[in-house]
Amino acid sequence: MANVIKLKKGLDINLKGKAAATISATNASKTYGLVPDAFWGMKPKVVVKEGDAVKAGDALFVDKKHPEMKFVSPVSGKVTLVERGDRRKVLSVQVEADAQQQFVDFGKKQVNSLNAEQVKNALLESGMFAFFIQRPYAVVANPDDTPRAIFISAFSDMPLAADVNVALKGREQEFQTGIDALAKLAKVYVGVNAGSILAGTQNAIVTQFKGKCPAGNVGVQINHVAPINKGEIVWTIAAEEVAMIGRFFNTGKADFTRTIAVAGSEIKQPQYKTVLIGAKIGDIVAGNIATDKKVRLIDGNPLTGQQTSTEDFLLAHSTEVTAIPEGDDANELFGWISPRFKEFSVSHSYFSWLMPKKKEYTIDARIKGGHRHMIFSGEYDSVFPMDIYPEQLVKAIIAGDIDRMEALGIYEVAPEDFAVAEFVDSSKVELQRIVREGLDMLRKENE
């Protein structure tokens, strides 16, 4: 039986429009785009030219510092555009898909017969390695490092997040193969929730977590299982991506198909969809949006995701696409004193504490208040289930005090760990942005 760790702090936000457990396929997009920014912390060097023909699995760009790390095309077809922004920053590399998909054949492999070097090289070559995120800094892992451990959270409790039990149903074997491969590289830890189909995973240390959001964050789990010390490196990877690695070794093909949740109050039929990374968001939500209101489309869940549009491409790590009302035309009168029965709040000055726990809320994208300095204390702390003082850490980052950031444990966190705190913050401080900047600042200083 797995170890059980109970977490007290946190907050479950019950949003309307959870995906029903039905999976359907998405219509193929005309063009697919790989967005380098989704692999935070790496500088892309584009290795294709517009007009080049590529197969699924051919590199589109590589990391400038580590050219052996490839970022490969999810489809076969013709490179149509290398989209650049300010200072020639690569925004996306777009490929027009062939009608008949052709895959690069990397060759089926028996994971058990491989050594660590062979596993790593296979992953680097096939673009799978790019999905590892390292801590400290929450950036793409460095292939030269030997991590102390690899952590996988096999559930997400973020609002509207995809349920791994649905997304990986019937793919437990692929997940196990993926774990076996990772176990060649380092000690593997898997965090599961109650009733997880992955609780029986072998070749890894499985820990069960009970608690409210963000207990499903891998950073929170690391903090409770084996916290990261200064100078140590651990890698994390999502459960969906472990199964993808398993499929790669079993089939020899770099297949980036995944099952994502399409959810939210503005989605007509919230459900699961099988899609390819890089697909057009518009094709994923086509015909499924309630059109009477202005809608905010989010690549990811409403707490950690980012705003997207029908013209954007599905980012590499996405496990869901969600839609909520934009709400910028709400013009709500006297918000500071009206009862506002429909609103959700942790504060008892609203009435959501009186409502049944099952009640689902529609929350729009407004920040619902003015930006203030941090006034009320203990807000972040109550939803931050790590042995870290979140407020003090954020203040150290704002002050640019690198020594203090380190002392307070910045190398244990990723921006997503502050998502719930950002939600409850009555001073509306952009915590995730600040933490991201802090991590980047520290990395620049240390490298």
């Binding site: 995701g305 959700f344 042995d387 950002e422």
Partner: protein, 387 residues
């Protein structure tokens, strides 16, 4: 909506470059007073937010103060009627209206002076006006003696807002509770207006008797104890609050209603309130004034007199000047309670110690935080060293 249109039409006038741009932050304050900002989340970061904001939290402090304010007004009238000898003719409503008439100018002065400075500073710094002063501005009239002249109140308020708050950077950065700084300023700059036994009952409009009375002496329980006399009020009087004292501090019942509202709304830390009472009770028990029977004063009555309750509930819990760590809050409260009693009992110069205790602990709040945060840092460093 009509109002929205009016505001939208006025916006260019008050924006940068507009005719009245000097009043931009005032316009902004009005707009956010009427409407929840329509600003939506940035492209990256949390896309949804809790409905709570600082405006609402701070407004709940004012709601929690309503019982105290209403009772305070009544008590002004009641105390006045007592010394004027007309408590028989003047009923509850009469007493209340009298108190209202005395109180309103004080509230008006405090708000006009304080908010005026806040708006001017916000405009100068090109920031939004913060809501913090709405609470401070109502707290100030509640913690001064009823006879405090308005011009002194205005000077004290201006001093506190400028030197206790704005010079530190405004709401969220001040070290001392601004309302208490107002009181401390009065206490040290105009001692005759702040203590003794002539300041606690309003004697300005003695209309219900013929002629005027000069210098009526009405001592507070703590004044009597400080002078070594027996207390002339029963425990019931001090709990209900029909005694002389600063306007907001007398009624334990009204303050406890406020405490329930504050804690329930999550605005004040119950840890601070509870630990203040624990610290106060312990030291009140250890340090009695003398013979309880002779003085007509049991040790636990310490917690019901003076500004103890009001300070514990409304002053010590100020989130900005109290510790940020949960552990720090326990120590902070306990020491406030303990220190208040120590000053009261052991220092002959100051019959009341709550204000000084809270201001003193405001200084120490960052130290308590430091201890807890440093323990966390050390733990992490130790963990890393073990590897």
């Amino acid at each position: 909506m009509g109002l929205k249109k009016i505001l939208d039409n006025l916006k260019p006038t008050f924006s940068e470059g507009g005719k009245l741009s000097a009043f931009g932050s005032l316009y902004d304050a009005m707009e956010t007073f009427f409407y929840v900002p329509n600003e939506t989340a940035k492209k990256k970061g949390a896309q949804i937010h809790d409905a709570i904001d600082s405006k609402r939290s701070i407004f709940f402090v004012i709601i929690a103060l309503i019982p105290v304010i209403l009772f305070g007004m009544y008590n002004i009238g009641y105390q006045h009627s007592l010394v004027a000898g007309c408590e028989a003719e003047c009923g509850v409503l009469c007493n209340f209206l009298y108190g209202l008439a005395v109180m309103l100018p004080k509230i008006a002065v405090s708000y006009i002076v304080g908010l005026g400075i806040e708006v001017a500073v916000a405009q100068w710094k090109k920031e939004e006006v913060h809501e913090g002063f709405f609470v401070t501005g109502i707290l100030i009239p509640l913690i001064v003696p009823v006879n405090c002249p308005l011009w002194i109140l205005a000077i004290a308020t201006a001093f506190a807002v400028i030197f206790a708050k704005e010079v530190f950077g405004g709401t969220g950065f001040n070290i001392f509770n601004p309302a208490l700084v107002t009181r401390a300023f009065l206490f040290f700059a105009y001692p005759s207006m702040m203590s003794g036994d002539k300041v606690w009952v309003n004697q300005n409009y003695m209309d219900c008797i013929n002629g005027t009375i000069d210098g009526i002496s009405t001592a507070t329980p703590l004044g009597q104890l400080g002078a070594g006399e027996a207390v002339s009020y029963s425990a019931m009087d001090t709990i209900i609050g029909t005694i002389p004292g600063s306007i907001g501090e007398t009624s334990v019942i009204a303050i406890l209603i406020g405490a329930v509202i504050l804690v329930w709304a999550g605005v004040a830390s119950w840890k601070i309130i509870l630990s203040t009472f624990v610290g106060g009770a312990l030291f009140a028990y250890l340090l009695p004034y003398g013979d309880a029977e002779a003085l007509n004063f049991q040790w636990w009555e310490q917690l019901t007199v003076g500004g103890f309750c009001f300070g514990a509930v409304f002053m010590a819990t100020d989130p900005v000047t109290s510790p940020r760590t949960e552990g720090g809050k326990w120590i902070f409260g306990f020491l406030i309670g303990a220190m208040a009693i120590i000053i009261r009992v052991l220092n002959p110069g100051y019959p009341e110690g709550m204000m000084l205790a809270i201001l003193l602990m405001n200084i120490f709040a960052p130290l308590f935080d430091y201890c807890f945060v440093q323990a966390n840092i050390n733990k992490r460093a130790k963990r890393a060293a073990k590897k």
